[in-house]
């Protein structure tokens, strides 16, 4: 065991002195996460805002009961924390506010809106005029909230219209009102429904840990772990390749002429790959926490999950070394696997929308398990919540590592 540890430490020192490897292990994931963070506006504040105080511009060109009721909904206390409304008289200015990213959406109530719903004196409603919601496509969630508020209002209005019609017909049938009074009665019933104090929006936030406040959505929370795990595959490939490099350089053969068993040599290689991968992940976690203010989750659980992830990835690195014949083969296959695992595992884009077949396939990658587990932890999960994930990664390590060791021990590795 001592010799295996010494071999692993020796490998770690060699990696630490390899500038090219360090660039790909540390600098590249940082740079990519930083770059994409800049592109998505993570650092400029123009990116997706939290789900509170959504800036929305209201243009009321109608000025009648129903449009005023809708304006009052946006200004009500019930949605005060959710929405930050501003009035605007000019629709073009309202749209410009959205284009300039000063507002997430503009609600433009056209003239004739109230008349299109509530019948006029002659009992005939006006032509249909739709409410325009001019939304920022980059703020899908915020604009969806605004749209939901408007739709809820319109649903209530519609139910009010129906209620009014039913009420009027009943009153007429029982001769409680005259036909001349029917229009007015119907309007009042509908208006009362539209202007109801009952809240249109119920916003409930649940967190896994029972915290009162949910964490804000942060694009870095997806990018940083994704790239960290993506580049972990480079490290384990590099480590696997080192076994074949040692064969080329004859340091492997020399090792085997000392009183050092093959078991110690292979164990040492596994330890070296693990140490390099673990160090890489810890540095990336610390760095993103300090530089980007990223929250990864419960520290002990994150460390444990990272350790399991690195072990799972190490299994792949060792299998590569066992199957390849030359260091160049390890490089080629390893690069291809790295990219494939990154795509499948969700390092570049959330995997939630993958078709069912790919949802199963992605589970062969350490990326998938790691990113799913890290997402749970970032949202407040604990060690228990990622226990199954860690078990899966450990099984991956044992299975792949076992196959690799079997192949290596029976392979003529020297000539």
């Amino acid at each position: 065991m001592k010799k295996a540890l010494l071999i692993g430490l020796k490998d770690l020192i060699i990696v630490a002195r390899d500038r090219t490897a360090l660039l790909l292990m540390l600098a590249a994931p940082f740079a990519l996460a930083l770059g994409l963070g800049l592109v998505t506006g993570r650092f400029s504040g123009a990116s997706e805002t939290p789900i509170e105080e959504i800036p929305v511009v209201i243009v009321d060109q109608d000025g009648q009961q129903l449009s005023q009721a809708l304006v009052e909904v946006f200004n009500s206390a019930d949605v005060a924390t959710l929405l930050d409304p501003a009035a605007e008289s000019d629709p073009a200015a309202a749209r410009a506010a959205v284009d300039d990213e000063r507002a997430a959406a503009a609600v433009i109530i056209p003239p004739g809106f109230t008349d299109s719903i509530i019948p006029r004196e002659d009992g005939v409603p006006g032509p249909v005029v739709p409410i325009e919601i001019y939304a920022d496509p980059a703020r899908k969630i915020s604009s969806s909230v605004v749209q939901a508020v408007v739709q809820q209002f319109l649903a209530r209005v519609e139910s009010g219209v129906v209620a009014g019609q039913v009420a009027v017909s009943q009153l007429l049938e029982h001769n409680l009102i005259t036909p001349e009074q029917a229009v007015t009665v119907g309007q009042n019933v509908g208006l009362d429904a539209a202007q109801s104090n009952e809240s249109l929006v119920n916003l409930a936030t649940e967190t896994l840990s029972g915290e009162d406040e949910a964490r804000e959505f942060d694009v870095m929370a997806i990018l940083a772990p994704g790239f960290a795990v993506f580049f972990l595959m480079f490290t384990v490939t590099n480590g696997g390749r080192s076994l074949l490099d040692e064969r080329t350089d004859w340091t492997l053969q020399r090792l085997l002429t000392t009183p050092t068993s093959m078991t110690a040599v292979l164990s040492g290689k596994v330890i070296g790959i693990f140490l390099a991968g673990f160090a890489q992940m810890v540095i990336l976690i610390l760095g993103t926490t300090l530089l980007f203010g990223l929250y990864w989750g419960d520290l002990r659980a994150v460390i444990a999950l990272i350790a399991a992830t690195v072990l799972g990835a190490t299994g792949w690195g060792m299998l590569l070394a066992a199957l390849a014949r030359t260091p160049n083969q390890v490089n080629s296959i390893g690069t291809a696997l790295m990219i494939l695992f990154g795509i499948l595992g969700g390092s570049f884009a959330p995997s939630a929308n993958f078709p069912a077949a790919l949802q199963s396939l992605r589970l062969i990658t350490p990326n998938a398990w790691a990113l799913d587990g890290l997402a749970v932890l970032a949202l407040g999960g604990t060690m228990v919540d990622v226990g199954q994930t860690m078990l899966a990664l450990l099984l991956m390590a044992l299975l792949l590592g076992g196959v690799a060791v079997f192949i290596l021990r029976h392979k003529q590795v020297f000539f």
Partner: protein, 315 residues
């Protein structure tokens, strides 16, 4: 204790259809320098690889200090040091770090190891460069550290596989002197080479190996007697001018026992080199082959190899 530290018994190794070593049997006495002399591909490295328990023989066995290479490989590895033909060092580590690591692989540690590292660095003359990374060393310096690693644990027997390949004459001189010093201190050395001069300078006994077979074994005097009192005459002739007709004519010259062409020269084993020289030059002239250099040598290992195989050692 047996006088022989190494005995091989019909040692053979095949790689698929290729028989790299065929039925090699020899013994190495304690305290001697034993050379395995042969051209590239003769089976020297494969033989050493089997004796150092790196690969398993296809058949046969060997005892190293009483331990079987098949039955007790770990015990064999405890008593041998190996200096491979390749510079088997970690380039991004310093000489000191390399020696520290390799010493630990031999089970050494603490002050004993540190002291021994200082000693071997003195032995190979690189104590002042100990902290520098191997990648900054010249080829000769790398080879010296390569040797130092094989000596760390004070082995009774050290295998050196062509330790002077590709280095400058000064470094080679240094290495040969080191080998002699180690032997004077009691170390047994199995030394493989394709350089006749090295084998002649260092060895108590020499085994000549070719195509996997041990074709001759003995002291230099014993081997030289295989070719009798014949001389080796070398005519330097441009390769394009060496024709089959010329070679045939030279074979028929009086006193000529054997003719071989290659490496820009025609080598002949001749009864009396000086007496035969005029006829040999005349024959060359008749066949329009311009002789640019001549040498006459008394029997040496080159001649022995030529006599036994019909080829020059460096073919």
């Amino acid at each position: 204790m047996s006088d022989l530290i190494v005995t091989t018994n019909n040692l053979s190794k095949s790689f698929g259809d290729v028989q790299a070593v065929r039925g090699v049997t020899f013994g190495i006495r304690r305290g001697e320098i034993f050379s395995l002399l042969g051209p590239n591909g003769a089976g020297k490295t494969t033989t050493i690889s089997m004796l150092s328990c790196l690969i398993e023989p296809t058949s046969g066995d060997a005892l190293v200090d009483g331990h079987s290479i098949r039955g007790a490989p770990q015990a064999v590895k405890e008593v041998i040091g190996v200096v491979p033909q390749e510079v088997a060092l970690y380039q991004s580590l310093s000489a000191h770090e390399n020696l520290l690591f390799w010493g630990q692989m031999y089970g050494m540690n603490g002050n004993i190891l540190r002291q021994r590292i200082a000693e071997v660095l003195q032995t190979v003359g690189l104590a002042d460069r100990a902290k520098d990374r191997i990648e900054t060393y010249s080829g000769g310096m790398k080879r010296r550290i390569n040797i130092a690693v094989g000596l760390l644990h004070r082995p009774r027997l050290v295998f050196m596989d062509e330790p002077t390949v590709g280095i400058d004459p000064q470094s080679r001189r240094n290495i040969l002197d080191t080998v002699k010093t180690l032997n004077e201190q009691g170390m047994t050395v199995l030394y493989t080479t394709h350089y006749m001069e090295e084998a002649q300078e260092l060895s108590d006994r020499i085994g000549i190996i070719d195509h996997g077979e041990l074709i001759a074994l003995g002291t230099q005097e014993e081997l030289s007697q295989l070719v009798g009192q014949e001389d080796v005459v070398e005519l330097r002739i441009t390769e394009m001018q060496v024709t089959p007709a010329l070679l045939q004519a030279l074979e028929q010259a009086s006193g000529v026992r054997q003719v071989n062409a290659g490496d820009g020269a025609v080598s002949l084993i001749v009864e009396d080199g000086h007496a035969a020289l005029p006829e040999l030059i005349a024959t060359s002239n008749r066949h329009e082959a311009r002789v640019t250099g001549v040498s006459v040598r008394e029997p040496n290992l080159e001649a022995v190899f030529l006599h036994l195989t019909g080829r020059a050692l460096r073919d």
